[in-house]
């Protein structure tokens, strides 16, 4: 470790302080608060709280509703991650092959990325709108009445489609730049070694893309778990009971709608542990990741 030389011993502390304060105020304090309140049962009207030990957690573990939401969250996360990565990979591979007008083409595809996520979510929701949504119209044309916010499966379908749609441009950009960082000569060597384009992709291109893909996998899991809140909120239209929701949304509904602060805190602690596990996994894999060059 190299020791930086500061003539004033307080100088490094002063330089670190702004960042530390931000982390403390916006992360450690609420996290601590959540852990603390997860051991209490709050009065719905805010008149006080009783220490209940691990009751909130055991209640979660026994709750069939919580298990159902967790199940849907798993299903939702796997599907959103898989589809958004898969479709983006397909698009990136195709865009990478474009020779004429390549720059224009790629810029056009990346533009979508510039749309702010909430706007994109809103646009996505409009696609499924009961009255003017073109996708609803399309289903109606085939004789199916798509009822977002009313029918459990329809809502789940719309949530997944919009969430995937929103995430594709991000994945696309990363995967395309990953593809383009593969040396041309390596691909040409493969061209001489192997006739089949599909085999070349899986033998050479994909392994070289793996570091990027793994990074994106973690990003996408996190996205599907947490950042889809807005999409879900729009889709369930304030009626979460009969609609599919994810764990994060349940934290919100239980805490702010159901006024069960203790239970909701316990849920957010569970999610916190999940994120922690994901982060540890990512760091482990990043450390172990083979640096090819």
């Amino acid at each position: 470790m190299k020791r930086a030389a500061f003539s004033q011993p307080l100088m490094p502390v002063a330089l670190l302080l702004p960042q530390l304060i931000i982390i403390a105020v916006f992360f450690y304090w609420p996290a601590g608060e959540a852990i603390y309140s997860s051991f209490f049962l709050q009065d719905p009207f805010g008149f006080g709280s009783n220490y209940v030990g691990a009751d909130n957690y055991t209640r979660l573990a026994k709750s069939s509703e919580y298990a159902k939401v967790a199940g849907f969250t798993l299903f939702f996360t796997v599907l959103v991650t898989f589809l958004s990565l898969g479709i983006a990979l397909l698009l990136a591979v195709k865009a990478d092959k474009v020779i004429r007008g390549a720059k224009t083409y790629r810029t056009l595809l990346m533009w979508v990325y510039a749309v702010a996520p909430p706007v994109a979510g809103f646009l996505g929701a409009l696609l499924f709108d009961q009255n003017i949504g073109p996708i609803t119209d399309l289903f109606a044309y085939f004789g199916y009445n798509l009822q977002i916010g009313l029918n459990y499966n329809d809502t789940a379908f719309a949530m997944i489609v919009v969430s995937v749609w929103k995430q594709i441009p991000v994945n696309f950009i990363f995967l395309l730049s990953g593809l383009q960082s593969i040396p041309v000569a390596v691909r040409e060597a493969a061209l001489i070694d192997n006739k089949s384009g599909t085999r070349r992709f899986w033998d050479i291109t994909f392994p070289l893309l793996a570091p990027t893909a793994f990074f994106l996998l973690i990003i996408n899991i996190t996205y599907a778990l947490f950042d889809t809140f807005g999409v879900i909120d729009i889709m369930v239209k304030g009626n979460p009971a009969s609609n599919p929701i994810t764990l994060v949304y349940k934290v919100y509904t239980d805490g702010f709608r159901g006024s069960d602060l203790g239970g909701s805190s316990a849920q957010s602690v569970v999610l916190m542990v999940l994120v922690l596990a994901l982060t540890v996994m990512q760091f482990r894999m990043l450390e172990r990741r083979i640096h090819y060059t």
């Binding site: 060597a189 061209l191 001489i192 192997n194 070289l208 640096h291």
Partner: protein, 345 residues
């Protein structure tokens, strides 16, 4: 092992730029030809056209008795060694070498035998389980060679394979590649911008300039009878001296000095190799010395004759040199070129 036959092959890019002008040549079985020229002369493009990495605009390319213009690179029965090795970074040395064979349906035993043999030939056996990132530049180059050898291709293609290596290693690999190619008796095309590589390795040299083949010949033909001032100045280190002169009667005039040599009247370019000039008290051409480069065994004298740059390569006898010297050269050392077209007269 195969012959290569090229008929009127050319390359024009969609924007109209002509990278390779129509060229025809044959390469004999087991011959190593070197394509040499400055950067941008089209030598790599020509090689890549043979490999199938670039489209051929016009003409026919035959490897063996097949026209391969429209075949995929993998179907042309060629192997290529790239400048930056182009090894598969995620595969071990053994897998790198095996990949091409595996895709051609060789059995595991055949692959193992081939890889083993090539590894022995290139002293790579202890490195077979390593990844390319754990190898030195020279070792990577060997693996790239190994990847080409195991396939027993009809034609080897080398695209500046040594230009990423340091000088010492380059010399060593040059000899190794040449030995290997002779031993395996595989037809080979070798691209380089280094004229020393071209001279030392080639059975025949193709000198390219601006997309055209300027001259095809054995190294000694290229050295002794360069077809143009371009070839004369490109091949040889230091390059041939080229000075403007005038043919008058049966003499060549350089400034005020005259050399008797049959020559048509008019402007000519006179070429003289630096190593074919001697310093002599009885010499006929005055030489004004400006700089001496010591090379150990010999020294390069930079200076001017009749106001034009001129280099002399003399054995290093440690003699002190005056600023004004007299030069002498045998008449067979003179090359005459057309002053306008640069073509040999």
């Amino acid at each position: 092992m195969a012959t290569v036959s090229v008929t009127d092959i050319s390359k024009t890019y969609p924007n109209g730029a002509q990278a390779v002008h129509p060229a025809s040549f044959d390469i004999a079985d087991g011959e190593l030809i070197v394509l040499v020229g400055p950067s941008g002369c089209g030598k790599s493009t020509l090689l890549r056209m043979v490999a199938g990495l670039e489209d051929i605009t016009t003409g026919d390319l035959r490897i063996g008795d097949r026209v391969v213009n429209n075949l995929d690179p993998a179907e042309r029965d060629i192997a290529m060694v790239f400048q930056n090795y182009a090894l598969y970074p995620h595969m071990s040395v053994a897998k790198n070498m095996a990949y091409g064979l595996k895709n051609r349906g060789a059995t595991k035993d055949q692959i193992a035998a081939k890889v083993d043999e090539a590894a022995k030939m290139l002293s790579l056996t202890p490195l077979l389980d390593r990844r390319p990132s754990q190898l030195s530049g020279g070792q990577r180059q060997r693996v790239a060679m190994g990847r080409a050898i195991v396939r027993d291709p009809a034609l080897f293609l080398f695209d500046e394979p040594l230009s990423n290596l340091d000088a010492k290693l380059r010399h060593q690999m040059r000899v190794e590649i040449r030995n290997l190619q002779r031993r395996l008796n595989v037809t080979a095309m070798y691209v380089t911008h280094d004229q020393v590589e071209a001279m030392t390795m080639a059975d025949r040299i193709f000198v390219l300039n601006a997309g055209k083949i300027e001259q095809i010949g054995t190294p000694s033909e290229i050295y002794r009878t360069p077809a143009s001032t371009f070839v004369a100045s490109f091949m040889g280190a230091p390059p041939m001296n080229l000075v403007s002169a005038k043919g008058v009667g049966r003499q060549v005039l350089i400034g005020d000095s005259a050399i008797s040599h049959p020559c048509a009247d008019g402007d000519v370019t006179l070429g003289i190799r630096p190593e074919q000039v001697t310093l002599s008290d009885t010499g006929t051409i005055p030489f004004k010395l400006t700089l001496v480069e010591e090379l150990g065994a010999s020294r390069l004298l930079h200076g001017k004759i009749a106001g034009q740059d001129f280099v002399v390569n003399t054995p290093n006898d440690d003699a002190a040199l005056a600023d004004d010297l007299l030069l002498d050269f045998g008449l067979d050392a003179l090359h005459l070129f057309d002053a306008l077209t640069g073509q040999r007269l």
